[in-house]
Symmetry: C2
Subunit: 156 residues, 2 copies
DNA sequence: TATTGTTATACTCTATAACTATA
DNA sequence: TATAGTTATAGAGTATAACAATA
């Protein structure tokens, strides 16, 4: 029996198991990033603000979809941002059950501060990275998220 | 003032903000993967088993380092796997304060089942991906984690 | 005195279920 | 009856601090 790996009979390599380990270890990056946020703005609030800026005004259901969380979870996060004056809830002219979420000037100011801190953190930690590698990672992460689709549980 | 982007005055693009959004949205993938695990084996337990198999026997502090969590957190996760008979704690001949964590045959069997489920999930969701892209993503994720270093808080 | 590990407590994020209001 | 959203409750994961045992 010939081996092409130098004579050792190796376990068959499973690239999915390696990916799973990398995914599992990824939590450390999220926690490292969360640590640079202001104390009064949690990670979930930051995500709400960033999505409202990037996608514009939207309803709760749409935001929950973008965050891939149950609407009950999204509702709490949105309430948190409304309490702090970063987001306002406007009546939805098309549907009385729904309200439109909109970033306020204070919310935009907070988001600007958040972006400054996040950019600063990446600038420090990814100093050795080429722009192309950063873009490649961003693209692959987005693609992975798309490939997994909306994995939220369906409580039918 | 000339514009090279078709006449629209665009915001300066910040690749770090895009990466931050991709990182933020990544939680959906972790949750999707966690959903395929057996009910009696949580994600943290799965990580403990995978790391013990991949790196071999080790002490608590080393495992905490690999998981990038505080040792108090790691201790709880390890206790969970010990309770279920997947890991045993052996005395450390070099240090009476410490114990060596070792995967048991039951633990290896559980890990085999976990790997089967995770591989199955990836096979379904990443059917369109080339092997090279999977490897590229795995490599970039590992590199990102390394670049962020050990971001655990230092309660000195 | 410093270090390894454990336990108690609190906080963040998420899901399920029950509920209100509107379509 | 179905849908949009809210609230209550429970569970998983993490950090801080206080503690025990050993170096």
């Amino acid at each position: 029996m010939r081996e092409t790996d130098g004579g050792l009979a190796m376990e068959p390599r499973n690239r999915y198991e390696e990916l799973a380990r990398a995914v599992s270890a990824f939590g450390a990056v999220k926690r490292g990033l969360a640590r640079v946020l202001p104390v009064d703005c949690q990670g979930a609030s930051a995500a709400v603000l960033a999505l409202l800026k990037h996608h514009g005004d939207m309803r709760m259901g749409r935001l929950a979809e973008l965050m891939s969380v149950d609407m009950s979870v999204c509702s709490r996060h949105a309430a948190h941002t409304v309490e702090r004056g970063w987001v306002e809830r406007l009546p939805d002219p098309d549907d009385g059950r729904s309200r439109i979420l909109r970033l306020t000037p204070d919310g935009l100011a907070m988001l600007t501060e958040l972006d400054r801190r996040v950019t600063d953190a990446f600038t420090r930690h990814l100093a050795e990275w080429s722009d192309d590698d950063v873009d490649r990672l961003t693209t692959l992460l987005a693609r992975l998220r798309d490939s997994f689709g909306d994995c939220r549980a369906t409580h039918a």
